[in-house]
């Protein structure tokens, strides 16, 4: 491993002269945008006019290392070079260290990183605390002082704890900073109702540990594909979800040019196969498990499986390794696939063809490609699991690498989404959150449910953990930099519940902008970015280096915006826990504390042997270290006895006894919900089979390039570069009289969305799709139509059977021309 500590690039003075004529023009107006924000007193919140612009001769800029939105893109956290002049950001450039040529490792950011100046200096930024003056959701607020804000919050916290107990407090996850400042405060006050899982991959990350242990949800880095000869990805699209920063997108491009065959199975020709149509295998949305099962049928029936090898690592692939409770009942995976158990239907390609809309011949061909591969890298994005019964889908896909031995070695994957070689160290824990005295948790998706009827939620029906049932509804909700109401299915339902002040009695939101979600808060606090305070950020690439970034307040927060830690310190002081909360440290001092706390552990991780001291990183600001490409589960597959998994049996539980017990005892509220001990195909809630004459089309969504979920939706340049559009095939558009660019209405029983149509053959007929995250614009008291293009207006809020996470890619709809 090579140490690549950058000793000199903390503050680079290397600049280029700016185009003087353009810089002068920028001052004239017209195209000029987002310069140094000079906030005017009492600027109305709705004002969106561009702030005065500064021309920025770059030769006078100072250049600092900074970061993008700090929790990255799930994998990529890009180092950015911020040009700063007179306290304002003038330009953002990408990583310029390392080899910039194709093949080299230079973590170049994506278009979102290039929009950081606009994000930081946007005129719509919240600038001071606000108190709600109209109904929840109306967006009517008045400016208040910080003293009033923290005093009110402290009083409501005390009231809630005294009246309902700590379990009545819940904190929505933060999407802006991830620093645990709020969690630490709540823990100091006796704790809060926790949330498990994530919107991103909640079904997968809950069920995979049953099958493959705690590491089960994580995939090998895409860098492995440089050592593969075949890539098969189900619903994976790194070209829009991890497109910058020397990550999966870049690795896939390099693998392609090395001659690796790539097959992307998706209901639309996603950007990862743009330019390479031969790589795209269209499929009906939500049927990936049927395809995977039929491919397994071909492989098993043709004798292409080394069953002795599989049985060495697995429980329940076939009868020989079934647990005693299930022996002799034809309950193995092989029994399911071959039609000798369960529904007694052989999962032949002919069976899967009318489900997946892929011909039997093509399914057989895909299976043969897999059989012939020396090192296949099989992955899935997080879309396939975001359907009804997605918990079975993600396991069905994971069976393909297992039964073909394409797992546990370099060049292969676990069937999960591509991950990172080395886990991130201390990006999200720059202050220790402490221990939550309240052990009860709900699925993070169940927040609105717990506001509505938390007292009735149980372990075996609603997925409450740590207790048999909740003791109370959520009465105090702290939305810490999250737009969760915009990002969860069925906005009208959420609106009806959240607007009721008798249900959740107090809502605090901390955000940078007036989001759909923030507009339901009683108090709104103006937040800051990681570049506006002292920060330590773990850099990440797919698989080639690890690193750390030290940021020292590149720019000051605008107006009265404050660090959450300082806000929480004020509240802790009022409530008498300041000493426990701060332990005498400032925010900046906690950065050093956390660094030095992690240092002994980090040194045991690959690449971190050369982790610098605090003094060194404070001076250099950036440190990276190359790592070797490794694959997940290599230890287990090298010696399953010496390195067992942390499943019940220590092996891969293809048949999982725990799941069988859960299936026998839990209450499921819809007949389509299935918890199965083995991975099966079952259509699930609001599958394509639910389409009707009124709602004949199927609707799914994806994570777009122009936003990080809902973050950045308000940046005009990003919105124009990739417009919010509904993809519809000409076969569905033409009978409806819809032309490319027309405005259309998308409707179902849950709501109506107006959005621009993109008529393109890049989506399978019968299916429409639009990216998630657009900010809803709905007058619920008026016509109730969303004119923001938010797919979640149409998505269900049905919880998945086991994990109680979202199934929002399962929706039926109709589309009409406006």
């Amino acid at each position: 491993m090579t140490e690549t500590i950058e000793k000199t690039s903390g503050v680079s003075r290397r600049t280029f002269l700016k185009g003087s004529s353009l810089a002068a023009l920028a001052g004239v107006g017209g195209s000029a945008l987002y310069g140094c924000s000079t906030p005017e007193e009492e600027q109305p919140l709705s004002e969106t006019g561009a702030a005065p612009t500064v021309a920025h001769p770059a030769e006078q800029d100072e250049v600092f290392w900074g970061t993008c939105k700090s929790d990255g893109c799930g994998q990529t956290i890009c180092p950015l070079r911020y040009h700063v002049k007179d306290g304002a950001i003038t330009l953002v450039e990408a990583d310029d260290r390392g080899d910039g040529e194709f093949g080299g490792v230079q973590a170049r950011c994506c278009l979102r990183g290039r929009s950081m100046r606009q994000w930081h200096q946007h005129p719509d930024r919240l600038k001071w605390p606000l108190k709600r003056t109209g109904p929840r959701g109306s967006g009517q607020y008045e400016r208040i002082s910080w003293d009033e804000a923290v005093q009110t919050i402290a009083e409501k916290l005390k009231y809630t704890i005294d009246t309902y107990g700590n379990e009545a407090i819940h904190s929505g996850v933060t999407a802006i900073r991830n620093d645990q400042a709020l969690e630490r405060l709540l823990n100091c006050l006796g704790g809060y109702l926790g949330g498990y899982g994530s919107d991103s991959r909640g079904q997968l990350e809950t069920i995979m540990p049953y099958m493959m242990g705690s590491g089960g949800p994580n995939g090998s880095s895409m860098t492995n594909t440089l050592h593969s000869d075949l890539v098969i990805q189900f619903g994976n699209n790194p070209a829009t979800t991890r497109m910058g920063g020397a990550s999966a997108n870049y690795d896939l491009a390099r693998a392609r040019e090395k001659g690796v065959e790539i097959i992307t199975i998706d209901y639309w020709m996603n950007d990862s196969c743009v330019g390479h149509p031969e790589e795209w295998q269209p499929i009906r949305s939500g049927t990936d498990a049927a395809l995977a099962s039929a491919m397994a049928y071909v492989l098993i029936s043709e004798g292409a499986i080394d069953e002795a090898w599989v049985n060495k690592y697995c429980i329940g692939y076939d009868e020989s390794t079934m647990p005693e409770s299930a022996r002799g009942k034809h309950l193995s995976y092989k029994d399911y696939i071959m039609g000798t158990g369960y529904d007694m239907i052989p999962k032949t390609p002919e069976w899967a063809a009318p489900i997946t809309l892929i011909s039997a011949e093509r399914i057989t061909e895909l299976a043969h490609k897999l059989a012939n591969a020396k090192a296949a890298y099989i992955s899935q994005g997080w879309g396939p699991q975001r359907h009804g019964n997605g918990e079975s889908t993600c396991r069905a896909i994971a069976m393909l690498p297992i039964i073909t031995g394409n797992i546990g070695r370099v060049g292969c994957n676990t069937g999960m989404r591509d991950g990172v070689s080395v886990g991130l160290v201390n990006p999200f824990t720059t202050i220790p959150g402490g221990e939550n005295p309240v052990k009860t948790m709900i699925s993070c998706i169940s927040v609105v449910d717990a506001v509505d009827h938390g007292h009735a939620m149980t372990a075996t029906r609603d997925g409450v953990t740590g207790a048999d049932k909740l003791s109370t509804d959520i009465k105090f909700l702290w939305l810490d930099g999250t737009n969760l109401l915009n990002q969860r299915g069925d906005l009208r339902r959420s609106h009806e519940i959240m607007k009721d002040e008798n249900k959740c009695e107090f809502i605090v939101a901390q955000d940078m902008f007036m989001t759909f979600t923030a507009s339901y808060a009683d108090i709104i606090l103006p937040g800051i970015t990681r570049n506006e305070c002292a920060s330590v950020i773990a850099l990440a690439t797919a698989g080639e280096f690890v690193g750390q970034l030290h940021i020292d307040s590149i720019v000051q927060p605008p107006e009265e915006c404050r660090n959450m830690y300082d806000v929480c310190t004020d509240i802790a002081r009022i409530l008498g826990v300041e000493e426990a909360y701060t332990e005498g440290r400032t925010w900046a001092e906690w950065q050093q504390f956390s660094w030095e706390m992690y240092q002994p552990y980090a040194a045991q991780m690959p690449g971190y042997e050369t982790m610098p001291t605090w003094e060194e990183i404070s001076k250099d600001h950036i440190w990276t270290s190359e790592i070797e490409v490794t694959s997940k589960m290599m230890d287990f597959f090298a010696d399953p006895e010496a390195a067992p998994l942390d499943t019940e049996s220590g092996k891969i539980e293809v048949y999982c006894e725990r799941l069988a017990n859960i299936a026998a005892t839990w209450e499921l509220d819809d007949p389509t919900d299935v918890i199965s001990p083995i991975p099966i195909y079952t259509p699930g809630f609001e599958s394509y089979e639910a389409c009707t004459e009124d709602y004949p089309l199927y609707l799914s969504g994806w994570h777009p390039r122009q936003r990080f979920h809902s973050t950045f939706h308000n940046l005009e340049n990003l919105r124009q570069a990739t417009r919010q559009q509904l993809l519809i095939n000409p076969a569905d558009a033409e009978p409806r009289g819809i032309k490319n660019g027309d405005m259309v209405s998308v409707t179902n029983e849950r709501g109506e969305v107006h959005v621009e149509a993109r008529v393109t053959p890049r989506i399978i007929p019968g299916q429409v799709g639009m990216p998630e995250g657009a900010w809803a614009q709905i007058d619920f008291d008026g016509d109730g139509i969303d004119r923001g293009g938010n797919i979640n207006v149409l998505c269900n809020s049905h919880p998945s059977p086991l994990s109680k996470h979202n199934c929002s890619n399962s929706a039926i709809c109709q589309v009409t021309k406006l």
Partner: protein, 207 residues
């Protein structure tokens, strides 16, 4: 004269538009004006069998395009005030905003739609090849921005020696019109059997 030009590897481009946004950040442009833009060219047909199973020859590719600093720039030729000038040193086509009257002739004459009219300022604005960066030994910001290195920049003769001399790819205009200093590597999708059904799929994004 040293003539500079751009190389676009459309087989590597995913259409992410980082080039476009980097340019906008550097040149302080808003949503209405883009000096560099990424076109999505798509087409193809679907057929289904008795089971309803689909086969398709659908294709799609992305092509990043800006000013190609042509040998015979139509904008220079049509400009009534001589405000569009081809730089003798670099071959870059720039605007003299002091004499430009904002008539917009160049915006319609250019087959690539490169010059834009800044309505508020009543002048033509366009890509200047990041002339100052280039003269300082650097490259245009869009080229340095590409996450997958699909863009390159240099002396056009050297680019052609390295990458060939193709400068035509749908939906671009015929290169014979203006002699663009552009080299393109076409994607596999350009050989699609259904290429004749292709259309510009994102006209509202590149207007």
């Amino acid at each position: 004269m040293t003539q500079y030009g751009f190389y676009i590897d459309s087989s590597r481009c995913t259409g992410c538009k980082t080039c476009e946004l980097a340019c906008k950040d550097y040149n302080d442009l808003g949503p209405d004006i883009a000096f560099r833009k990424v076109m999505d060219f798509e087409g193809g047909m679907w057929t289904s069998d008795a089971n309803g199973c689909w086969t398709t020859d659908t294709f799609g590719y992305a092509l990043s395009d800006g000013c190609n600093h042509c040998d015979n720039p139509a904008c220079v030729e049509i400009c009534p005030t001589g405000s569009l000038i081809k730089d003798e040193k670099t071959g870059f086509v720039g605007v003299d905003t002091a004499t430009c009257i904002g008539c917009g002739s160049c915006t319609t004459a250019c087959p690539y739609g490169a010059p834009k009219l800044d309505d508020a300022a009543s002048v033509c604005v366009k890509c200047d090849g990041c002339k100052e960066r280039v003269l300082a030994g650097g490259r245009p910001i869009c080229v340095d921005a590409c996450p997958v290195r699909a863009l390159d920049f240099g002396v056009i003769d050297e680019l052609r020696a390295a990458y060939g001399d193709l400068s035509d790819l749908a939906p671009l205009a015929d290169s014979a019109m203006t002699g663009p200093n552009l080299v393109i590597k076409p994607p596999a999708a350009a050989d699609s059997p259904s290429i004749d059904t292709g259309f510009l799929a994102n006209p509202l994004e590149v207007a």
